[in-house]
Subunit: 585 residues, 2 copies
């Protein structure tokens, strides 16, 4: 087993060299007295040829057997341009079967032929597929780059506990019963939030951690019960310092993995402006087609529908798509209308088309010529332009148009898939009203600082308090969120009060944390970057399981190890817990 | 807050520079109209001087306040040689209080004055102590170096699940109840063992992970419920490849942290030889004084005690300490006898001293002159040499002398504390007999390969089967353990059988893992390096809590967050579990 090189590394220049290789049999073909074996290792595949004197050695070899081979590299008569090693082959002079293999239940060479559940059950075979190997190595590279960049900037990686205290905010905690203290529990952290703020209080100034986080949520397609966060916190800075750090990090990652040069500094748009222009706090900036408010044009309209909406405080807003009128038939537009009605509760979708200098479409008739001329002028309409209009409450119109914008962006191929457009969305609302709980709750988390000018509105006008929370958005996805934290104990107590958390309750939940603020807390803030999402973008996949070595299904099952599973009664006895349903049996 | 440099970085060469600093007030002294503040940040401490025009600004400042200061660096009249910045001070021209602090419940400047429980409760303040800051940064450095070295060697870091399947081997699992599947549980992994072997089966060839591990054991002083392991696994290699990888890793870590150059390749000693020479599988090689078997000298002895022991198959073994006879009085030797009797069940401790050419001591009288002469010759005894002798069963004699060797090594200052002596202990026994379970159990873990020559003794003579398990020992501490794994399914099944695990039981526990061996498993092996132990050695501390940011007490309590803690009944209801004791109330 004295392997001299990696299979995928051999090239025409190596012809004549003696090599020793090892790997899995990816394919085996017989051609008369010759046997060809595609030998695969992590680096790639190379063809090994066994002539008639050697064929006997590999007679019993089948797919996924492990072979050790020595031989001479030679140029191929028929190069295979699809293979990086396609110009050469290795003529085997020695060959040993290292281990045998039964017929695999999934096809490793082909990515698509087996259903995902079977592939998850045999994940160790699924992971042999070159695309998954590439993704895992990419994930490793991203982490290596992140650590190098942050280390060079003076950040220190500090591990925080996974057996932590339960702090019920937002998503549910996974609990861990204590054996020593029966009846008490640890919780797996939803993020290292409290610990990293304590590290700032402890004076570490610049902390990071590529940290495992846990959320016991009903899973969506892009979530896993455990996930990883590039977690960063720093003292004595502000948004500018934090953004610069993250931007340098992203620039290094994108340059060194996909070879893409990001803009020198990223666009920043405050939340309110973002919603107004794009109808979402996660806009895809790879294309324009922003939302346009047409309301002023219609302030004296006689068109009853628009008039009614405006009288009720609503808006008339629109999107324009150039040269797209002929791409949406009546039927196509009906589909768009269904989309905004059912998905976003909009009452209707109106449209106008500029056809040979004339505006046609669902509202062409009820609108006056002056109104139509004003619309054409405001939108600079040219022939074959399409205008989609929603007259509704502001929030509904914005959200529906925001979604339509993305849908048409894809349908009309307005998006350059090779582009990466970053955007900081800043000044998120401090609070949001929870109908369920009948109170204002923290929109980000209760440690987020309000914008200084809004502090006096905490109680009088919570709806309009902006926070120093921010998101980094990439191509329409939220890549991270973060905030400047509160560092004064007084203000922290006020914010708790504003969300209806009495100091008593707050102390019960975060007592030790509130205590810590008394002893010289530096101004600080940070971010948590979703590692899986970042790697998904770089790998060009929409399936989170493509970037996680051992993922669960969407319903939180590990099909490979069949877990969660039942455990011995003895184990439960030691922990002092019982399964509740058992009593009912 | 435009900090221009770090406090600890200022030197005499900076005199005359304008600087802006920020940090915590470590000490504040008034000297007439002048106020001196020691301002501390992560980098160190610098003295800031406020003259009478500025003193007002810092009138209310106390320890642990955060101050922002601008001023000019100037040479001190009385340099402080204890401080790295001791040649200079900063004359304050501006000063702002950034945040206030109450009186801290622990003294940060002094390491020793507060009891550990109080320091753990206020860990965020304890962590301000420079020694702990240094240790955390050291830990970060060790991880950075490990990742760089392994990455350069082609290892890929892959994250494995923390919500894993319960596999009850050895220490107890922490369990996590499933909300979606009430009555089923995840387990926190004791190590990524199974996952990393699956990654070898998946063809990753070289894996590593700085991985969190969990063991629900009754804690010893040097254990924590969660700990971190530099986990490594590789395919297609053997002991030599693995040892070389770990040696390169250690060389880089020791060179780049403490500036120590390790030996080019580490000593290897098989387990049996190690026990024979040092009485332990974790010998401290910084000094000699190996165990010497004197039995042959006494094979025809008339001394009843020795004769009895030898007749019962025991041994007469000894340690020699040069020039130490006068350092152990009768009373001192009695203490040593107590030590081996109570700690190691030895029946007695005999001794001889070479005094002015004559052997004296507890067995000088009963031994014949010829025997004494033979002992003196075999041990090359010189004046003032001390010989400690145990006549007992082999195992007792070895263990007791091994412990005595270390004790006297320390007492006699035979150990160079600046030295790092590594040692591979190889070929550990495959099995050990569990009195408790009445069967042979895996000494390492059941996936460890037996030495090839011993495979046919698996059932006939399990006691004498050697395995391909190894430890790396440093200065008497086990730093890592690892093994070459079994890669053939047949052999794996045999080993399970040998430890009394029926295939049915084995399949129930490791079914998916055994399945995986069918599909082309490469030869593989690896190690798990205890990160905390490694950093403790480098930091020169015996307290594991000195190298963990947020540790628990020895009884597994987090005094800072007061966890584990009780949780709401609603949380338990969701998880479908009940606290067992509740029913009894």
């Amino acid at each position: 087993m004295n392997r001299t090189c990696e299979n995928g590394s051999l090239r025409a220049a190596d012809a004549g060299k003696k090599v020793s290789l090892i790997g899995w049999v990816s394919k085996r073909r017989n051609l008369g007295s010759l046997v060809f074996v595609d030998l695969r290792d992590r680096s790639g595949i190379v063809q090994v040829t066994f002539d008639e004197t050697m064929a006997e050695k590999v007679k019993e070899v089948r797919s996924e057997y492990i072979l050790s081979v020595s031989g001479t590299v030679q140029l191929r008569k028929d190069p295979n341009p699809k293979l990086a090693t396609g110009e050469i082959e290795v003529l085997a002079e020695e060959g040993t079967i290292v281990n045998r293999a039964e017929t695999a239940p999934i096809t490793i060479a082909d990515d698509t032929d087996t259903n995902e559940d079977t592939r998850l059950k045999y994940r160790y075979l699924d992971l042999r597929r070159p695309v998954l190997q590439k993704n895992m190595i990419l994930r490793h590279k991203v982490c290596m780059i992140a650590r190098r960049v942050l280390d060079e900037k003076g950040f220190v990686e500090i591990e925080t506990p996974i057996l932590a205290r339960s702090t019920p905010e937002g998503a549910r905690d996974y609990l861990v019963p204590s054996r020593i203290y029966n009846g008490r529990f640890w919780a797996l952290p939803q993020s290292p939030q409290i610990y990293k703020q304590l590290l700032m209080i402890a004076g570490f100034e610049k902390y990071f951690q590529i940290a495992r986080c846990f959320r016991d949520e009903d899973l969506r397609a892009d979530r896993q019960p455990e996930f990883t966060q590039i977690d960063i916190e720093m003292s004595f800075g502000d948004e500018n310092t934090i953004f610069a750090t993250v931007e340098d990090l992203m620039k290094a990652i994108f340059k060194q993995t996909v070879g893409y040069t990001l803009e020198d500094s990223f666009v920043r748009i405050p939340y309110a402006e973002c919603i107004r222009r794009f109808g979402t706090d996660k806009p895809d900036l790879r294309f324009g087609n922003e939302i346009i408010d047409l309301s002023p044009i219609f302030k004296d309209t006689e068109f009853a529908v628009f008039k009614g909406v405006l009288d009720n405080g609503g808006v008339i807003s629109a999107l324009k798509f150039e040269n797209a009128a002929d791409k949406y038939s009546r039927k196509g537009l009906d589909k768009l209308q269904d989309f905004v009605k059912h998905g976003f509760k909009a009452k209707a979708l109106a449209y106008l088309k500029m056809e040979k200098g004339t505006l046609t479409g669902s509202v062409a008739k009820p609108l006056s010529d002056a109104e139509k001329a004003a619309v054409a002028e405001q939108l600079c309409l040219k022939d074959n332009d399409l205008v989609l209009i929603i007259a509704d409450k502001l929030k509904i119109a914005n959200t529906a148009l925001g979604a339509l914008r993305v849908r048409l962006g894809h349908e009309l191929n307005l998006i350059n898939n090779d582009e990466y457009k970053f955007l900081w969305v800043t000044e998120f609302p401090m609070f949001e009203y929870s109908e369920e709980e009948g109170r204002w709750v923290a929109a980000h988390h209760p440690f987020t600082a309000p914008v200084e000018a809004d502090v006096d509105k905490l109680f009088s006008d919570p709806e309009h308090v902006s926070s120093r929370a921010y998101d980094l958005v990439l191509n329409g996805y939220e890549l991270l969120s973060g905030s400047i934290r509160i560092h004064e104990q007084d203000l922290q107590e006020k914010v708790f009060e504003a969300i209806g958390l009495t100091m008593e309750k707050a102390k019960e939940r975060f007592g030790f944390f509130l205590d810590a603020f008394r002893y010289g807390t530096p101004p600080h803030g940070g971010v948590g970057i979703g590692l899986e999402r970042l790697v998904m973008v770089l790998a060009g996949t929409d399936n989170i399981r493509d970037v996680v070595a051992f993922p669960t299904t969407n319903s939180s099952l590990d099909l490979m190890s069949e877990s969660p599973n039942v455990v011995d009664q003895a184990q439960l006895d030691i922990l002092g817990i019982e399964i509740a349903n058992k009593n009912k049996e």
